[in-house]
Symmetry: D2
Subunit: 340 residues, 4 copies
């Protein structure tokens, strides 16, 4: 049994990790931590876990964590992970980092978008971007995983087949993204209290969201040329789920069945990507609570306009589920363990 | 035109007051204040008011407020109103206080429930409890109004006819109350962020909610004997509205039509209380956005159990609408002005 | 006082019309109808109207309606209005038709999208498309108004300034639209029951929604050339509101303030269109319950990509409010009467 | 592997059964049926199941079902189950019936509340009321289970300890119940479409809900005397969950810790009932998606008023989860299999 810990166990991704890991056949949760004064039973924080897990959550201590765990999930805020990673790296522990700190490979891009200089350049290059559908082999041999962002996961999975097949006009990509509120984490701010979100809907950070450079980095990598998407996120009045409607101009007109075939072949072996038949758009509820990414396609031949819908649960495939999937691959477990 | 101001114009009750007052034929809004550094257009705070009102909201200054207004609405937190009232009282201004500071007539009860000694005992007795259905004549001659709490408004209107008619066993009253989230004000706390409230429901402060003594005070007054209700509030995942299901044992069995008749006669002249026919329970959406209190009755003859449903909009009849109704009565306007 | 009736008074747009019209200073509601067996008080259908209006709703009878009304609002399903209009036209009554029946000027386009041949070609050309911001003068002299669809209202108002100014590449327009559930009317179908919509989100009818030809017709008219937008509607888990994120490529790079200036000048005199300052995107809650259309702009200079957000309440500016606005103009009332 | 089928697999309880059973280590799903013309993949009905189960759903045929299954779950409407049960009983198959048809032991009570004479009196007495916390031993030896209603499950579990301990005044019990919308099943009626439920709340069927006699039957049985509760259900704008606030007068004043102790002892061995510490009320979200019943207690000593909160997920402990729990007991599996 792999001994596993979670730093940042009190947030939404931390809670989701606990729920997944207590069902995992190859794993034992041995350490839960957050910033708090006294250790308390985790079921005092999350009463729904009462009777399911007996562990305490304690104030985070990297040395103790390293002692108690073979692998640690970092469900910490951005700019905090990079303070902690060197301590685990030194002790040769496996890490799955759910923050953004090790996703962007370019220091200056990181600084531009997260407003802080990167503090752990030494380890940065050792981290593998943990999108199994693109980097399964690298993940298998990695020790450190930079778990992808929620918006980028849905976006990249939705766009890559059109891009690598050479269909897409790479300069035409528009991502109209909608996210449930837990995507913001457990943020206690006026903009997130119930009466401000309920019966409301709004766009925010159009083209200035910090997930833009992550999407661009990955799309540029697969297409071997600079990609700059238009990325417009919106806040959806639901607890969970990301729904992205992606507009891509094709370079030339194509039969719609050919396009569908390209997507289906691309994901044929993937356990967690489901490509729908023509004209069958995903609904958010089809993926909420699952590790699936559901993809649907609509094509307007006259305009050579491909429209891709990509839907995930932001806390599962967009965070904790994908983190477990990465652990499974990295540790040689069944990739689907605890995820079906 | 009466010159009117609002202290605490940035909260939910403040916003609702503005919406009502800009439509009022006898009133001019001349002053909006809150605790803030620089004056800004109120439409920067509430973009929905853009084009409807041109006033700025400024840092609260009692002297300036008194200068600019004939009447001031205090939409301030509890324990803050009593700091401010003496300044207006001195200048002979009319006041409608939406806080709890002048509702409880007993100093020690106030201290017990609001955890602070009352600081303005001198003015306390000059305040009339602003429930028009019980105290219209007093309100007409008042200068200072203690606007009732939201839960108490629905509770008192639902219970009083059964109590003053002598039907009710006064020791049997149970109020199972459910409130929308704006009832808590614009509170930025973990318990009120969207993912904690949405798809959730919970009871809180059973028998220890600060509105208990207010309900008991008023019911004791009308029944000329000590009443102690069981009061169990719950948080409902909606923006607005209070729905109270009230259980009252009758002293003796009665024909249900007689009970209905008592309620209908009690409210026959009331512009804002609507008693439903038998078996027709109110729904929250019937009153949301209105100043109405809708009342429905169900009776179990075998158990001599009367069940009263009382529904209001917590921000209208439960706060700002009732405040305007009180102003209307106090100032000799049409009681329904701006409220239909 | 103008005598006014509503055919189809039991739906959401009918209810909204009643709410607006009972506050209207120049109008008396004299007739309410739907398809039903026996006349019943309208407050039995809508208990929230109890005490506000005393009229009955009765089974629709065109002759009776014509007798009792100077102007009739048709809040009927598509393909039903065209059965009824000739009867009112003959009697020289004013009509505001909220259905789609008289919006599309081309018979064959109507048949293609509504699957029925048009039955009243004679009157079709007498109907003015009731978008006051474009056709105020024509509306002033009209007797028959085809009230615009909800999606088209938000789309056209968001796109027209960019189009008529010559900025927009007319072949690049993508409308990612999100609508609250009342946009579907009071439809009793599996897809609209609460557990299917709540905590869900989905796209539907991408490029095959019946509002596409309406948008294209109007944009083509103002731009004097064929426009074909990409139109992708989504179902939003809120009761009311439409939020459209519109992507428009500009023909050449431009300073963002110039673009903003063009929009602001275009709507300077408009009582119900509010253009936001740069970087201030509308939220749905700013317009819900109002007749406003709020517009926000974001511009990506490198990509020459203009992003326009256009938000309305689908039942007000998108239906009943605009219908009243049209009546106001047509009848010489204050255009804002009952709408602020 | 036990071969298991579901009749009525297209509703909410059917879907929940599928989700639970595909994870069950001792079970193989071999038959899914509903009323439909042609067999289709179950993942066409529930796209979220794509890739998780490969079965078709077909038109219900009792003979075929009996052929293919050792045990069948009947997720059928009331009054339909009793048509089907005799066919399975004859073939000696195990049955878990989720309808109300075999819960009420008195024929005339059944007829009074379900408006139809019972058609299978022969088998009625062979059915065990499947509440494991009360009847585990009987369930172990049963072949036919009448799975309890959702409201009754929460009510009985909340009330029984106070009743059997002799604390409760049995004539004082009031149940103020609130249910999420899936409690009504997949009902396509005006009252259940999204805009009618969202931002709304309402009581319904006060004292005339068909779950009243079921609650009374069970409470009377355990208390060995006639119990008649006051039962007032309300519709909560959430997808799932039942929250009951239960008011019970105690016969004599008691120390609150004693009361708590009685509840804790009563459920000490129970895997799916969690009694909270004093003053810690359950929230709906603690149980949604689980098979737990969470119970919290508040006590007002002066009024000798006990207030019990009992919360479950109506589709899990209130239906499909409890059905699986019953199967587990009846078939000698781990009682918690597929339920944690």
């Amino acid at each position: 049994m792999l001994k596993v810990g979670i730093a940042g166990a009190r947030g939404y991704t931390g809670e989701e990790l606990i729920k997944l890991l207590i069902k995992h056949p190859n794993v034992r949760l041995t350490y839960l931590a957050a910033t708090l004064e006294n250790a308390i039973p985790i079921s005092d924080v999350f009463p729904r876990l009462k009777g399911l897990i007996d562990l305490k959550i304690e104030n985070f201590d990297a040395a103790k964590a390293a002692d108690k765990c073979d692998l640690i999930f970092l469900a910490l805020p951005h700019t905090v992970s990079m303070e902690v990673v060197p301590k685990f790296a030194k002790k040769n522990k496996k890490i799955v980092d759910l923050s953004a700190d090790y996703r962007l490979k370019n220091f200056s891009v990181y600084k531009e978008w997260y407003h802080k200089a990167h503090k752990d350049k030494a380890n940065l290059k050792k981290f593998v971007y943990g999108l199994p559908e693109l980097y399964r082999e690298k993940i298998r041999h990695a020790k450190f995983i930079a778990n992808p962002g929620c918006y980028p996961t849905a976006a990249i999975l939705g766009i890559v087949p059109a891009l690598v097949s050479g269909l897409a006009d790479k300069d035409s990509i528009i991502i109209d993204a909608k996210s449930g509120v837990s995507g913001a984490g457990k943020k206690v701010e006026l903009g997130y209290i119930y009466p401000e979100v309920n019966e409301n809907f709004k766009g925010y950070k159009f083209n200035v969201h910090q997930h833009s450079p992550e999407i661009n980095q990955e799309l540029s990598k697969v297409s071997l040329s600079k990609v700059n998407v238009i990325f417009c996120p919106h806040l959806l009045p639901v607890n969970r789920g990301i729904y992205e409607t992606i507009y891509i101009k094709l370079k030339k007109a194509l039969d719609v069945n050919k396009i569908l075939g390209i997507y289906q072949r691309f994901y044929r072996q993937e356990p967690f990507v489901r490509v729908r038949g023509l004209g069958r758009l995903p609904e958010l509820k089809d993926v909420v609570g699952t590790n699936f990414c559901d993809i649907g396609l609509v094509y307007d031949a006259a305009a050579k306009q491909l429209i891709v819908v990509s839907a995930i649960d932001n806390l599962v495939k967009g965070a904790s589920g994908q983190a477990v999937q990465n652990m499974n691959i990295m540790c040689g477990f069944d990739e689907k363990a605890a995820l079906l």
